[in-house]
Assembly symmetry: C2
Homo-oligomer: 352 residues x 2
């Protein structure tokens, strides 16, 4: 199979008897080229099958019209939605999107930041790995004026754009909701406490208990490593076997919350009557499990959109110093069956 040669602006120039400069300017709608010429050149470009070479343009301009993403797991629903939001926004603006996943490993995060840097991305959007503590690998972007947007899992010791939800309030509201449903011994599935999101959710939980005069029992606060289904299962089993088991669980994610529901059912503990459960994220499984899971909804796609916008706006306005705009988005408590002890479920109790 023969490989066709590339059509470049030089080919266009030769063909149309213009200089490459004019071709380039015409294709970019430069104002110093007459409309007639622009039209002529653009039509010829299409006809000859010309396609711009981003590598060449990027080299020359020292930017690649590409947004880099660094997240931990693409197939987590939240992160997939995040990426989706970024991609849509970026593409509309003519930007490409490079992705990389750390699998929650610090080491991967470092090599991925390097790989993205080497591609001279316009900006970077990051949700930190579970392990990351040191932030040194991000400095090179700052030094070169490449904007970084931290999203969801953000550092607290690094000055940059941030897009987050109000995890404290969400944790507070979720816990308060359980309290209002009559729970008095509420357990908490906590995530790694060096990650802001889990730390703040826990703080919200604690403050809600305090506010309502409920005792804080360390035994009811389980610290998870990954908030996986298996971990949730084990924790729930342990909790329900306690002499004085909890009557509510606020889980820092839906996966563990769902495992709690399923575990409780298996152990003959009825949800929500004996155990009310509320999760976090509003993953698809939340509305499928029975009883359906109350949870905190996370505007993932929107967070992606906003993060991408930050990068795009930055590169236009070229801020020089105020590299620290923080966007805090609200969350919503989605009340489903798993936490609804007081008001009867709307539909009649058939088939359950």
């Amino acid at each position: 199979m023969k490989i066709k040669k590339e059509v470049t602006i030089y080919d266009l120039a030769k063909e149309l008897n213009y200089s490459p400069s004019t071709i380039s300017r015409a294709l970019n709608n430069h104002k110093s080229i007459s409309k007639k010429t622009i039209k002529l050149i653009k039509e010829a470009a299409v006809e000859m099958g010309y396609r711009p070479n981003n590598l060449a343009a990027g080299l020359r301009n020292n930017r690649s019209n590409t947004i880099g993403i660094l997240i931990s797991h693409i197939s987590r629903p939240f992160q997939a939605s995040l990426i989706s939001g970024i991609e849509e926004t970026a593409r509309k603006a003519g930007y490409n999107v490079l992705i990389s996943q750390s699998n929650d490993k610090y080491e991967n995060e470092i090599s991925n930041t390097n790989a993205l840097y080497d591609s001279r991305i316009t900006g970077l959007i990051v949700s930190l790995s579970m392990e990351t503590v040191d932030m040194g690998h991000f400095q090179k972007f700052i030094d070169k004026g490449i904007p970084i947007v931290f999203v969801d899992r953000v550092p607290d010791n690094f000055n940059s754009y941030k897009v987050v939800i109000d995890n404290y309030t969400a944790g507070y509201s979720a816990t308060k909701h359980l309290i209002e449903q009559g729970c008095t011994r509420i357990a908490h599935f906590a995530g790694a406490q060096h990650r802001n999101i889990y730390e703040e959710r826990k703080k919200g939980y604690l403050d809600a208990l305090r506010e309502y005069g409920l005792p804080i029992e360390e035994d009811l606060i389980i610290h998870f490593k990954t908030l996986s289904f298996e971990e949730g299962n084990k924790a729930t089993k342990k909790l329900l076997k306690m002499p004085n088991p909890p009557d509510g669980i606020f889980s820092s994610n839906d996966t563990a919350a769902v495992s709690a529901i399923m575990c409780a059912k298996k152990m003959g503990v009825s949800v929500p009557q004996d155990l009310a459960v509320i999760g976090f994220n509003d993953d698809p499984i939340a509305s499928i499990v029975q009883p359906s899971l109350s949870t905190v909804s996370h505007p993932a796609n929107k967070m992606g959109t906003i993060s991408a916008r930050r990068i795009l706006d930055h590169s236009v306005q070229n801020y020089d110093n105020d590299l620290s705009e923080i966007t805090v988005l609200g969350t919503e408590i989605i009340v489903r069956e798993s936490s609804l002890k007081k008001t009867p479920v709307l539909e009649p109790k058939q088939s359950r």
Copy 2:
């Protein structure tokens, strides 16, 4: 904030009194550079904070060590896993990954292929949009010798690498499973028939019925547009209201299958006794819904890995003509509760 200047191989050259050629070769472990020199140069590179410029290298080599992905929706579990597999494989080989989603629009697919082409990707991995019929927008890759791997949703009129599962056999086996469970009137949730995957699943379904001497009833075959939850709900309602309703459903995806289960429960039809259900994909919701959903599992991550490998291998071996290796992967029927009419469920029937 000041922007630091880029460290280039020229800076290294000046600093170390070598020519840029030598620096370049040393960094690439070229054999004509002594090990001592290589070590010296590499150490200096690290110390001076040198980072290669992929744009420059890519321009010179006319390749960017980047794999482009074109799928329809990032947040579909299957596609997210696919991307994940591609990303992992690519990154291990030192490649970056550009993503784009068509949202199942032909128009987006075209503009995205252009955007990816303009970035001079090394290869392209595609799962076709629902609308795509004409394949003209892929020709430019072939012309330039850029390999394309079609995965899952593949064309049948275009010569290129393909990575698929055996949809026909999967459809056949799923249907056969329902028949073996005693179903005699099996409905089928079919997807758009111009997409290979849905067409073949349906063919397998039809052949299974024929083989077991069951009549084919057009009324039991519902053609979906998107196989969404809502569509599934509506279809199930319609089916169950028939004078002679089906006793089994083979759905082309899990979303619609789950909606069928939930709809049946709401209508007082017990699953699997009165209605056995089997889905396709093994999405997370499949194991969460109650009764849990039997389904066909799809090696999504592996398909991603293989697709990426195809690109990588191609660019090494530089095949010239045999651009049509097809990989067919097997699937697995996952039997859960929703289809198990004969054998009793293993766990005792508590709490259900």
